[in-house]
């Protein structure tokens, strides 16, 4: 199966981490073992964003309801800026994401990618595939009963 969650650009890794399982992300980050010096540009804060839908699935937008999001921003000692935007209210998770985002812009990127982001992407893909496989097993196969001749 193709790797759906691309982690080779910033948009890709931030998107992957935003809804990643917090326990798994934390474990991978701890195993990676980095604790970079940093300063907060914006300390983690929880808030809401208004989720929009489209009328009829394809028309003009309408407001569906809010979801919780936590965000933060920090800068490493060399000045690299990292942003964390995560679903939910975990400040710890947002902090990890911001640190990884910053480090991914430094020479350790390849190592970090292979030890944290790739396993995370694989886990997400596996979870998605497992659900899709269960859904596929509930697909209806119709068969036609004997029809009367006209």
């Amino acid at each position: 199966m193709t790797q759906e969650f691309a982690v080779d650009d910033r948009q890709g890794w931030l998107s992957l981490m935003a809804s990643a399982d917090e326990a798994k992300l934390t474990r991978l980050w701890q195993d990676y073992g980095a604790s970079p010096e940093f300063q907060w540009l914006r300390a983690p804060e929880a808030g809401g964003v208004m989720v929009r839908g489209r009328m009829g699935g394809s028309g003009a937008p309408f407001n569906l309801g809010e979801m919780t999001v936590t965000r933060c921003a920090l800068t490493l000692e060399d000045g690299t800026v990292g942003h964390g935007y995560v679903q939910g209210r975990s400040k710890a998770k947002a902090e990890i994401v911001a640190k990884i985002d910053a480090l991914m812009q430094t020479p350790v990127a390849d190592d970090l990618r292979s030890r944290v982001l790739t396993p995370l992407a694989q886990a997400r893909q596996a979870a998605k595939t497992a659900r899709a496989a269960k859904a596929a097993a509930t697909k209806v196969e119709f068969f036609t009963l004997v029809r009367g001749e006209d």
Binding site: M1, R10, Q11, L14, S15, L16, A18, S19, E45, A46, G47, G48, V49, M50, V51, R52, G53, R54, M55, G56, G57, S58, G59, A60, P61, F62, N63, L64, G65, E66, M67, T68, V69, R71, A73, H83, Y85, V86, Q87, G88, R89, K128, T129, A130, R131, A132, A133, K134, A135, A136, A137, T138, K139, V140, F142
Partner: protein, 370 residues
């Protein structure tokens, strides 16, 4: 008239302490954890998220625990919490056509591309109590099959090719937000949909049912019903591009309604739309029916005087927190109001007793007429 009174502090404190004890119940029974509620009462969690208008399963689970399973109380807690959150902005509209579907059925097209996928449904169960659940039981794994790789297209797209179904006007206009500005009537479809998706499931169901029973002719088929997960994207100003900020479960229903045409519209199929947080099938079908009924004016249909066609009636009464607040306030102390009413009734009685029986009869007739 409102008069401040003091007193009752100790009674209130003690009542709340007892409430906490009753909430916990028999301490020889294991306490519920939030993750148990989130995972095992997930449809209750979904309802609290949808009507609380805040997608956060952990918070919804906490609210359900705190409210002892009273879902409207839980929704109240979520609504109150929601107002404390700073608003970071709005997302891009979720693209439900790219949903990873757990369930996708159509009552109108048997051979829809992507097929009829039942998903984890209560449909076709026999609604018999399953006493196996009363005992701890190991579950067999659900069977699997080759997963579908590509997104599942919306079924109405196929009808659109024939131009036989009303098209959704495409626009990127910023929709009004009823959490920021109070509803005013007449409203518009985006506001109606926002109001309905957070409206009380029972109320919206009742309204939808009334349209099926003939109050506003509105014969709907479920063109498509899908449940699954959608990525939520938002533009991040400091980054200069959009990222996925999360993934949410949604239920979407599109109804197809026969329409014989009006002065302004040719005969075609028209649409009703429901989109609700979580797995909320009954609610999203109901929402679609009520959405369709409320579109009578734009389609040039007759106002049949049905409740479901009256947006002021529907939207002013579908919010269970507003309704509960007003309904339940009458149980709070109204001693002074009542005292004055008591005085009035006593006075009227005294006067009445002084009159003759003929006069009494005349007053009663007048009151009955009123």
């Amino acid at each position: 008239m409102y008069v401040a009174v003091k007193g009752g502090e100790r009674a209130i404190e003690n009542a709340h302490a007892w409430l906490a004890e009753e909430r916990r119940g028999d301490t020889s029974v294991a306490e519920l954890s939030l993750s148990q509620i989130r995972e095992q009462l997930s449809l209750a969690v979904n309802r609290v998220m949808a009507e609380g208008s805040l997608y956060d399963p952990d918070l919804a689970a906490l609210a359900i625990k705190q409210s002892r399973g009273d879902l409207i109380e839980a929704i109240f807690l979520i609504r109150a919490y929601r107002t404390t959150l700073p608003r970071f902005g709005a997302t891009l509209p979720v693209e439900t056509g790219e949903m990873a579907c757990d369930r996708r059925i159509s009552a109108t097209f048997k051979d829809a591309p992507g097929g009829q996928v039942l998903g984890p449904t209560f449909d076709y169960t026999h609604r018999l109590l399953d006493f196996k659940l009363a005992a701890d039981g190991e579950l067999p794994e659900a069977p699997t099959a080759e997963p579908r790789q590509e997104p599942t297209p919306h079924i109405t797209e196929f009808l659109q090719g024939e131009d036989i179904i009303q098209r959704e006007p495409v626009s990127e206009e910023t929709p009004g937000d009823l959490t920021r500005e109070p509803m005013q009537f007449p409203s518009n479809r985006p506001l109606r949909l926002q109001s309905l998706t957070r409206g009380d499931e029972g109320f919206v169901l009742g309204m939808a049912y009334s349209t099926q029973r003939g109050y506003a002719r509105n014969h709907a088929f479920v063109g498509e019903l899908r449940i699954g997960r959608c990525a939520v994207e938002m533009e991040i100003p400091e980054l200069g591009f959009a990222i996925e900020i999360g993934e949410i479960e949604l239920t979407e229903c599109e109804t197809v309604n026969q329409f014989t045409g009006s002065k302004t519209e040719p005969p075609q199929f028209t649409r009703g739309y429901g989109l609700v947080f979580g797995q909320s099938e009954r609610k999203s079908i109901s929402m679609a029916l009520v959405d369709r009924a409320l579109r009578w004016e734009e389609l040039g249909e007759d106002n049949l005087g049905a409740a479901a066609q009256d947006e002021e009636f529907v939207l002013s009464h579908c919010d269970n927190i507003q309704a509960t607040g007003f309904l339940e306030h009458i149980k709070l102390p109204h001693y002074v109001d009542f005292q004055s009413e008591l005085e009035l009734v006593r006075k009227l009685r005294r006067e009445a007793e002084e009159r003759t029986s003929e006069q009494l009869g005349a007053i009663a007739a007048q009151e009955a007429a009123e």
